[in-house]
């Protein structure tokens, strides 16, 4: 048995023409002049507004075009409002062998027995405890929490080597700043900003670049070092 929908006569606010609409209609188009108009019930708040609790948001930048936008913390994917690129926001964990490139806006963890075999992995945050043959890119931070190895180098925002952890890199490392409380060995390491070496930290590299350096008592550094070329302070 079908339900009978009650109809009411509504008048177009533009031309005055009348037409029959469902009694529950919220909006329609005038069949006489084509103008779109809403039901009086909808425009005066006859539709109950749902109060949404505050959604926690975080800022996100697109890996492709660099545009920033806000997304819900729980969101698993999004689309860049600027270039339309699909953004994978979730997290991923590599506990064994993994081939193929990775691009995430979330967090990538390579476990102690993990071995990333792709050519390039990009994630906003990378936690490294195992090995990577490919280049690692971490715009927010690369955190080394175990005895780790990187063959092709890495770059990103903050490089952190935790106490007791170690990183051996076969190629250049490029970061904005660094905090070394474990051991770092590499051919070249470049920090555009400050580098801090803790009491149990050590940095051993052929070349070390930084804008400023703090080596706490107990910390160790060895290599050829150069400060970032700022405005010339003087020549010798």
């Amino acid at each position: 048995m079908s339900l009978t929908i009650q109809k009411i006569e509504v008048a177009c606010p533009e031309c005055g023409g009348t037409q029959m609409e469902s009694e529950n209609f919220l909006s329609t188009v005038c069949r006489g002049c084509g103008v779109y108009f809403k039901s009086p019930r909808a425009s005066v708040g006859g539709r109950r507004k749902i109060k949404r609790k505050n959604i926690e948001k975080r800022e996100l930048s697109c890996a492709e075009c660099g545009a920033t936008q806000e997304v819900a913390v729980e969101a698993q994917s999004s689309t860049c409002l600027s270039c339309g690129r699909h953004l994978e926001l979730g997290h991923r964990e590599i506990l064994g062998e993994h081939l193929g490139n990775i691009s995430l806006e979330g967090e990538l963890r390579i476990g102690p027995k993990g071995n990333y075999g792709g050519s390039r992995a990009r994630a906003a945050r990378i936690i490294l405890e195992g090995r990577s043959s490919g280049f690692l890119e971490a715009p927010e931070f690369l955190r080394v929490a175990g005895q780790a190895r990187i063959r092709s180098g890495a770059s990103g925002g903050h490089l952190e080597i935790q106490p007791g952890a170690g990183l051996e890199s076969g190629d250049r490392l490029d970061f904005v700043d660094g905090r070394i409380d474990g051991e770092l060995r590499c051919p070249v390491v470049h920090f555009a900003g400050p580098l801090a070496v803790g009491p149990k930290g050590s940095v051993i590299a052929e070349k070390i670049h930084f804008r400023e350096l703090t080596v706490e008592p107990g910390g160790r550094v060895a290599g050829w070092a150069e400060t970032e070329p700022a405005a010339a302070n003087g020549t010798l």
Binding site: P194, V197, S202, I204, I208, F210, R211, E212, L213, T214, V215, E216, P217, G218, G219, R220, V221, A222, G223, W224, A225, E226, T227, A230, A232, N233, G234, T235, L236
Partner: protein
């Protein structure tokens, strides 16, 4: 506080310190036996048994060795300190820096071999 003993200078070529724009020039090696602040251009090496401050505008053509060192001037021949070394903004150091602990401020200019801490591989 300052104690200067000239050493290693050739008597025939040694000169009295000059006042040139307020910065004296010293030829030969300089040795400090107490905490000191050096505000001169030294055409030789500098050694300090205690803490040494190389003031802004001061230059050392040779190397500097001290227990602790704060550099605001220029050192061409490298520096060594058992304790803490602090390169302030405007400092210029070349060749090497060996230190127990180290702070290089933004604006300091360093190029050379860097060794901080003990028992390095």
């Amino acid at each position: 506080m300052n104690s200067v003993t000239g050493a290693g200078a050739d008597p025939e070529e040694s000169k009295m310190p000059e006042m040139v724009s307020g910065t004296p020039n010293l030829w030969g090696d300089v040795r400090f036996l107490k905490d000191a602040s050096l505000q001169a251009n030294v055409h030789g090496n500098v050694e300090a048994t205690h803490r040494l401050v190389l003031a802004a505008g001061a230059e050392v053509a040779g190397g500097v060795k001290a227990k602790e060192l704060c550099v605001e001037g220029k050192i061409k021949g490298g520096l060594e300190a058992v304790g803490r070394v602090w390169l302030k903004s405007g400092a210029v150091v070349r060749l090497r820096c060996f230190a127990g602990s180290l702070r290089i401020e933004p604006g300091a200019d360093f190029q050379g071999e860097l060794r901080v801490g003990r028992n390095l591989p």
